[in-house]
Amino acid sequence: MKKYLRLIAVAISAGMLNCAQAYTIKITSRSKGVELELLRKAVDEWMAKHNGEHKVEIITLPHASNECFALYQQWFGAESFDVDVLQMDVAWVGVFSDCLAALDEYCAKYLDMNDYFDIIKENMYSSDGHLVALPLYTDCGLFYYRKDLLEKYNRSVPKTLEELYDTALYIQTEERKDEAKKNRFYGFIFQAKAFEILTCNFLEMIDACGGAIVKNGVAEINSDNGIYAIEFLIKCLKNITNRGVLTYSEEDARGIFQSGNAVFIRNWPYAYALMNDPSTAVAEKIGMMPIPPSANGGKESGALGGWFMTVSKFSKNKALAADLAMYVTSKAQQKLRVASSYLPTFKSLYSDKEVLEVNPFIASMRESLLNAVARPSKAFGKNYSKASSEIFNTINTILTDSLDENPEDFNPQRLMKRLNDKLNALLKKKQNEKSVDAANDDGKVGFFKRIVNYVSGF
């Protein structure tokens, strides 16, 4: 009997607690590295700030980012779910902007828009000009190089892609004279697995060569600069790169470089702290630089990555959700994240004394972010994942064929042209969808009526 009484007491007190709290905000978070712990800390602070009035539930996302993407699509497709704040990749904001709440009225007066990097600011707005996303941290593609090897062979840090190729080839040839490194040492490693990462790799390559994937709403991947970029990658793959890169994502590539078997590698800033760990073969021997321009013309580059916090259009308490999103993405919070190598999105933090003391490499990232290039997710809207997949599939196929096919049969231009046509078709589809949406707004016709219409149309 006593036991039951106790149970009842617990149940009642739990019920009372439930009544007292106004609303439980649900927020999603990635769990890579220390990300989840950082968010949990920030959320606890936010709850304390509100005197425990509101509760927050953290929902962890799948590890692979394309799985998160698919999950969000299902949620938004179902149109009714009770997640309020969603962590989102920079490239998805354009895809999901129809399903995101406009944050202008909640946040605009608190934010110092001039302090954000321009390229990040562009991605905070939906295509119809509403503020929909708050940046949590940013990311930018980089080249890392082995300082010690450049010194050993008396080479300077390359200023152009072509110079990089020559340096890498030279050092690779010299290093391979050592029997232990024969066939195991490479000049340059990048990521060419047929996934989003290859789209990023190719994007910064084409940008560094002076081209673009989409320009003014038209696909330009098959331009001279695009062809030059793909030919550069083929040249690398044939001479200074390991064939395995065709199956590599970030971590596979990092392993090669970190065990001392490459001169140059393309990766994100997160790799810096890990590769500099005293247990690796390359600790204290690493330098960083933006992707250098091609001698043919072009600019320094780096694909923009990074994650945003957004509020769902279907949230039942948008004001509170926006408040939480604003809190976790605030300048003070981003300053705390610097210690874990997460790049802040505010320009002023890159010259902040305390920040530089904690993580000196941050200063060199400012230049890279000013030159960063964003993926064309806005141009493609909901078709972005399809467009990106066309890009990485074609590039991966071209690179694979360049090694496998007879030189006479190998024709990358044909594939690039097909890719260009497909991308243009997707861009057109997006424009058409807009006009169809407008037409459909007058009256929604039932599904069976549509079948009847279709059949009677014969």
């Binding site: 390991n242 395995g244 549509r450 279709y454």
Partner: protein, 303 residues
């Protein structure tokens, strides 16, 4: 009198028939809800332009999805890959499975333990074994490259998954490794249900094993082998997880189910993805009908 008795027994049969259906109904209901309804729905979607954003007000577009599917080069590549993997791995599994089953059927010490051990590859979840194989096949740290280089068979590491041809071969090898135990299990069951006196008679007469195998075991095992091959072939045509984990993600080495999943989940193209899934279903249905009817004739002629 006799006549009446017959009638009552018939009525009884009818009654048990009804009660059978009654007791089956909860199970059937669950099956219809869990398997029948989604199946019908995906067939239904394959005739529409549904995307994940407009599931409830999609347009009926007739055969359009199937027409563009038939024109899609990537789809036919996926069909080819699927049948290549299934067509090569199933016969290999059958042969290896038969060998393993015959060994396990013979009398030796520790047979019980061996029977359990052999099953291990099949009991590991595919995701796990695919990841293990992924590491073993890794071009820079993989043990397979290391062994081949130590044995001087190759002099530079091979990137197994970076070429379309090699990746298909590697996937077939892993698939065979994974499913041979299943085949062996089915065949072993068949071997054990065979009357042992045939073997004994053959042994007494001093018939060599090769002859026993060809003229006794194979003919008697035929129904078991056919069932096992059908099961495995249908399973192999649906192959998904292994390819999803192991391959480089390129369309050139996708299989039918990977293709369908890509369009459904990654491109939000529910209509087209459903069409691909429906086509896969028809491939399987067509194959099994063909195979079963073909073998029925053969089996009947045997009797």
């Amino acid at each position: 009198m006799r006549c009446r008795k017959l009638e009552t027994s018939k009525a009884k049969e009818k009654k048990t028939d009804l009660s059978n259906w009654f007791f089956l109904s909860p199970c059937l209901l669950v099956l219809i809800l869990c398997a029948g309804w989604p199946l019908l729905r995906s067939i239904f979607f394959s005739f529409t332009n549904a995307s994940i954003y407009n599931l409830n007000h999609a347009d009926f577009i007739g055969m359009e999805n199937f027409v563009s599917l038939a024109r899609d080069r990537d789809w036919w590549k996926a069909v080819l890959n699927t049948f290549l993997i299934a067509g090569i791995s199933v016969p290999l599994e059958t042969i290896f499975g038969m060998i393993v089953a015959l060994i396990l059927h013979s009398n030796f010490k520790g047979r019980g333990i061996m029977r359990a051990v052999v099953l291990v590859p099949w009991t590991i979840p595919t995701i796990v074994s695919a990841r293990i194989w992924g590491w073993m096949l890794n071009d820079s740290y993989g043990i397979i490259n290391e062994l081949l280089m130590k044995a001087s068979i190759i002099d530079a590491p091979v990137a197994w998954m970076a070429s379309n041809f090699l990746s298909i071969i590697s996937m077939i090898v892993v698939e065979v490794w994974k499913t041979t135990p299943y085949m062996a299990l089915l065949l072993l069951a068949g071997l054990q249900s065979m009357p042992q006196d045939c073997f004994e008679a053959a042994e007494v007469d001093g018939v060599p094993f090769r002859k026993t195998f060809v003229s006794i075991i194979l003919p008697m095992m035929k129904p078991t082998i056919i069932v096992a091959v059908i099961f495995r072939a249908l399973d192999a045509v649906r192959i998904f997880d292994l390819v999803y984990i192991l391959s480089s993600g390129n369309n050139a080495n996708a299989t039918m189910s990977v293709f369908a999943r890509r369009h459904l989940a990654e491109y939000q193209d529910v209509g087209f993805g459903s069409a691909a899934a429906t086509a896969l279903l028809f491939f399987i249905a067509f194959l099994s009908i063909l195979y079963i009817s073909f073998n029925k004739k053969k089996l009947n002629s045997l009797d």
